[in-house]
């Protein structure tokens, strides 16, 4: 489907992010279940998901709250897990920085792994998109995802029973992310970036408060950028 209008961009966004439905439903339900087991009411659990919309950070906060960690440590750790959102924000800026402020604010609230990854993939694939088309695509990409995030948080909270471990839902997220990343390896520099990030993340796996992910991400980005510079020099292109 070619994007010619804002509406067709919106619809393509909806279509392209429908696979995430398979991920969001189990993940949101899981958060709902875990939160109610930790003693949160259904309303508190929903408020958590609506205000924060970041599953990994929410689960981190919940875990530390149960361990009675100091409030400041809970906040700092959960925000560290979410630091990648700042990287996403920076990465989106060249594409949607020209949009009206209210749209950028709304998009910021709705920036999650899924909306970011699907949108950036599309913006890179089709550089001719206008800013309104890009915003349309972005809001399309969150349409199948965010409402289900709210709804299934509540469903999980109400069900309140433990999903059997044999469902292996813990692995829904890694599989979904890997499937999404694979088509993005377009150049050798992308491969180097991912490889370095993976190695550093494994070496830094014991660094507390998930800071290892930030360090590894930064290392991967530097490796990718440096490889790009080397490759363009080798090919005699001035950058």
């Amino acid at each position: 489907m070619a994007i010619t209008t804002v509406k067709s961009a919106y619809l393509k966004g909806v279509l392209d992010s429908t696979p995430f439905i398979l991920v969001i439903i189990p993940f949101a339900s899981l958060f709902g279940l875990i939160a109610t087991e930790a003693g949160l009411s259904v309303f508190e659990t929903l408020a958590f998901s609506v205000v924060v919309i970041a599953g990994a950070a929410q689960l981190t906060a919940l875990q530390l709250l149960q361990e009675e960690a100091p409030t400041i440590v809970v906040l700092a750790s959960a925000l560290a897990v979410n630091l990648r959102m700042a990287m996403y924000s920076a990465s989106l800026t060249p594409f949607i920085g020209g949009a009206p402020l209210w749209q950028r604010a709304l998009a910021a609230y709705l920036t999650v792994d899924q909306s970011y990854i699907v949108s950036v993939a599309q913006y890179e694939k089709d550089p001719g998109m206008t800013v309104p088309q890009r915003m349309g695509y972005f809001f399309g990409a969150v349409t199948p995802v965010i409402p289900l995030w709210y709804i299934f948080t509540v469903v999980g909270a109400i069900l309140g029973t433990q999903v059997p471990d044999s469902w292996a839902l813990d692995f829904a997220i890694p599989i979904a992310f890997l499937a999404m990343i694979a088509p993005m390896f377009r150049t050798f520099a992308h491969v180097v970036a991912a490889f370095v990030a993976v190695v550093v993340s494994l070496l830094a796996a014991t660094v507390p408060y998930s800071l290892g992910i930030i360090v590894a991400g930064a290392a991967g980005m530097m490796a990718g950028a440096q490889t790009e510079v080397w490759l363009s020099r080798k090919n005699g292109v001035r950058s």
């Binding site: 709250l65 409030t71 959960a78 800026t93 499937a179 999404m180 390896f185 796996a205």
Partner: protein, 108 residues
């Protein structure tokens, strides 16, 4: 038992903090041009951060208490390879899920 006041401080604090992280560049930088070196780094955000997020969970899954798990490692590998070959997200997720459940059943 989680203290209710603390809980709401966390929910609101985490909400405000997360919004700030998401808004810091799109909102405050806007359409001002960013330097080429920065843009060059940003091109690799997704392919660096997401594998870094996933890799420890693939090798040391929480569900097995951090023990190496052949089913999860194989599922991750199949997902990645199918994704690289087909560029099709659903095909990659599907084959990864089949591998995971198949191996969990066989090795179970």
């Amino acid at each position: 038992m989680i203290d209710k006041t603390t809980l709401w401080i966390i929910i609101i604090g985490l909400g405000l903090g997360s919004f700030f992280l998401r808004f810091v560049f799109t909102g405050l930088v806007g359409d001002r041009l960013m330097p080429a070196w920065l843009l060059r780094h940003l091109r690799y955000t997704a392919v660096a951060v997401l594998p870094a997020l996933v890799a420890p969970q693939v090798l040391w899954p929480k569900a097995t208490g951090g023990e190496l798990d052949p089913a999860r490692m194989a599922a991750a590998a199949v997902t990645l390879v199918v994704g690289l070959m087909t560029k099709n997200v659903l095909a990659a997720i599907g084959s990864g899920a089949v591998t995971l459940y198949g191996l969990l059943y066989l090795l179970g």
